[in-house]
Every structure is written in C-alpha cells, then in structure tokens.
Symmetry: C2
Subunit: 303 residues, 2 copies
Amino acid sequence: MLDVCLLGTAGMLPLPNRWLTSCLMRFNGEGLLIDCGEGTQVALREAGFSPNPISIICLTHYHADHVSGLPGFLLSMGNSDRTEPVTIIGPKGLERVVNSLRVIAPELPFEIRLHEITEPEDTIEIMGYHIHAFKVNHNVLCYGYSIEIPRKGRFNVDAAKEMGIPIQLWNLLQKGQNVEFEGKTYTPDMVMGAARKGIKVTYCTDTRPTTSLVDGAKDSDLLICEGMYAEEEKLAKAKKNKHMTFYEAAKVAKDANVSKLWLTHFSPSMTGHKRYMKAVCDIFPQAELGEDGKFLELDFAEE
Amino acid sequence: MLDVCLLGTAGMLPLPNRWLTSCLMRFNGEGLLIDCGEGTQVALREAGFSPNPISIICLTHYHADHVSGLPGFLLSMGNSDRTEPVTIIGPKGLERVVNSLRVIAPELPFEIRLHEITEPEDTIEIMGYHIHAFKVNHNVLCYGYSIEIPRKGRFNVDAAKEMGIPIQLWNLLQKGQNVEFEGKTYTPDMVMGAARKGIKVTYCTDTRPTTSLVDGAKDSDLLICEGMYAEEEKLAKAKKNKHMTFYEAAKVAKDANVSKLWLTHFSPSMTGHKRYMKAVCDIFPQAELGEDGKFLELDFAEE
C-alpha cells in the first residue's frame, strides 16, 4: 500500500490557507517527500504527519517555492530525534544548494546523502521505492518524478509441487533468492510468474507539456501535475513562464493514460478554481482540483 | 506614530496556528521587520500587511527559526514590484548568511544594503528610525534591538520673538538647520528646547537575562521579550539552552522600567500559556502574552 498526501497547492508564494506545492508519500513505514517550500513542515503537521519518518526528499528544481523550507525541515527532523540518514535527490547543483541553505542548519544529528541527477533521466531504487526522474521543460533545470512500488509475479504453487521443491524453500524463492538444497539449485524464475502491475504515482511541476512527462507518467494510478493558470487567456503567459494551463495538464493526463489527475501549483492570482473544472473534465474526466491535505491510499489491483 | 505588530510567537519551529517570532513596525510609511523565520511572509499577510513597504530588516541572530524565511520574503518583495533598496542589519556573518540563502533568490529587482554589526553595541539612524543594537547572551552571537522614534524639543516662540528672529526662518530652525540671514547666524539651540521623550520599543530574543538587555530596554514603551519556558521547573533548561522563563522576562521588564511587556518565542512544548500569567504579573503587572497579530499604536506622550 502506498499513500499519497498533497501537502500544499500554491505556486510562487505561500498564502494564508494555501501552502506551497509539495507531496508526501508513505510506503512500508518510510516517507518520501517531493519538494519542500517555505512552510512545508507546517503543512505536514497540519495534515497529521511528522517529519521524523521521512527518509527521502526529492527536489524538482531550485526555485525558492520548491526548496526554501528545506533547512527548517531538516532541523525539525533533527528536533524529532531522527538519527537515520536522509537521502536528498535533485538536479545538478544539489550539493551547492543544500550546503548553502544549511548555513542556518549546519548541525544535524543524521547523515545527509545526496543523489545528484546528471542525465535527462535517472532511476533510483531506495527503500522499496522505484524512483524515475525525467527532465521536463521549465526556465531552469527541472525534473518530474514517477514513484513506483513494484509488484512481483505470483508464486506458482503447482509448478513448485511438480518440481518437488521442498516447502521450506518457497519463501526464500518468493523473496528472489537462489537456493541450494541437497545438491540441487532452485531459482526464483522456476516458480515466480512475470512481475505484476505495481502502483505508480507521478508528480510534475514546473513545466510546459513535454513528451518526457507523457512518457514518464504513462499508466500512472495518479498524476499530480501543475496547472499554474486556469483562465484560457493566460495560455500565452503559461508559455512565456514555462508553466501549464489546466487544459494542457488534462491533455497530458489523457495522453499518458493515467487513472486520475490532481491539479496543483496554482498561481496566487487565481480565484474560483472550481468553475474551470467542467472544461478540464471535458478533456480528461478523472481530473480533480488539488487541495491542501488531499489524501489517497493506493493498493495493488485485485486480481 | 509608530505601530507595532507581533507577527508570530513561536520559538524553534513554526506550528499550525503559531508563526515563528517576528515583529513589524511602521513609521511614516516605512516598514521595519525584526527577524524573518519560515512563514513570516504568510504571517505578515495574515496580519493584513504587505511586504512591499518594508525598507529595513533587522536580524537578531542566525538560527534558522529567525532567518529561514528571508529568501522567500525577499522574493515576495520583488514580486510585489519593490524597486527601492532594502537594508538588512545583523550580527557578524551577515554577508555570508544572506548570500548563502540567496542561492535560491539570486535575482531581485531591488538593491540589498547590508549593515553588519561588529561591536557589542551599534546605532543606526535610518528613515526616521533610531536603531540601537545591543549584544545579549545566547549560545550564538545574538543582538537585541531597541527602536526609537526621537522627538525634538519644543520651539520656544517667546525666545524667537525676543531675539527678533524673522518668522520665515523659524521652520528651518525647527528642522535643525543653521540659518544665515542679513549678516546674522541663527542656530536651532537658540529656540529649540531639550529633546522630548520619543517612542521606544525594544525587541529581544534569544537570550538569558543580561544587563545589556535591561540597559537597552530602559524606559521602553513596549518590551517584546522572549519567554521560552513558563514552567518553573524548566529554569535549568532555560539556563542550559540560553533562554528565559516568563518570570525572568518579567524581572527584566521591571528592572528596565518599561511600560508594557509582551512575552513571545514560546517553546513548542508549551501549552496553556495563560495559567502562568498571574505569577508573571505578580512580578511585573503590565505583562501580557504575545499573540500572533497582536497590534499596538504608540504615539508621542501628550504634554
């Protein structure tokens, strides 16, 4: 089970009652945070979570509204007695940005591990998360992230019995280990079916629509995507500032064949967000407005 | 007239419904902000103000809860089309801290002027504010600030008439200028009485009680002072962490002969703040709990 909480939905600057866009995911007791603007630690608490169990922080890019909360967040993790390492993943420049911001958080009771993305795509396997970063198209270097929880194939009991594999070895084979027993070698592929569909959530902001985003988000259970502007006449502004309109995000969701779309990263000038949703749903019916604290539990599909 | 708004009252970390301690003052259209932790820009908006007219930012010290909001605050000032310079005042290390934090706010449409305090005391005259910084006693270099709006002496009309000073020169003398007229020199001291009591507000956090604080706050109309702990049994913790209890702050207020005390910078572990106030008021009756958005207008005393 993966759960997802959209902690904030504002772009550019934090507003009273609207935190900057960031997202918490939790799997198997380990938290993963994407983006950490000013106030994200408060948004996290308001949503009912604690910073302590967050082991991974992914940064999309280094505009202040996506990273300004990092030093305070790390300090609060320290104040909550975290001692396990925290891995921070981000575009080129990660070390410089994190170290500069840590001028006000120089001492932490845990190790920080940095994973700098240097290619247009990167894949990181960490704590059960399969993280895929893909470069998008903003006015600074920026990445989207798809977070997958892979699911193994089914254990074929009949095959295991037929091959006479002792029952005490089944669990090891299920865990993917080769086993030697009484002079014979058993391998997982003998008894495990093909990998089944896992859970996939894609988070992307800030960008223009790109094929890398459509490809990266392909078949996601949930796409959390920026929609900086809703007003039709702001398309030119979206193009200029390298952002998206609601309708462009809906088109991406449709092309990527995702199951659900949450819009976020709204311009501070936007009001009356709801009235635009009919037109959005005409393009992609499973579109919803993001809201601070919006929460979803995703489980493996029943078979 | 000087007005004062306590934007937040939390110490250490911002909480839902309690912003980090900082203070806005406004005089003659120019704003002065003391400390800028994570979320201060939101606290400012919630209190009904805008970042644009703030010309001066005073930093007490470089712990994250007092400065982590600076890059976002500066960006929001820029987004509100400010082009006039902003002066930032702070302890030694100011340039390093501001420049490091600006890794995520490198481009601003206004000039930043830095005033680094290098002595145990410093005085800055800027935009009608008389700012007095005094070193206090925390576990890192830290300053308190007293902000004064000075008031000139009274113009002595009788003396001016007696000396036959032409009436068209009176205004210049009132403004403090020497005037040459028809071969004679007139100086302000001929007609101006001694400076009268101005307005004085002192802000101090984080520190143990010190004589520099008592001296710095002397006769203030308002002392905004940290009270990290309220529970009597936390005195040892206050001493260890170089903070103050409510009662120590009250004793400072009494010794400094201030007119009013606002307590702030409460520990995140504190609950039920009010129940401690009777004991506080036994020491200093004009003590009040600070609250986010607490506001006061101060005018020159009537005579």
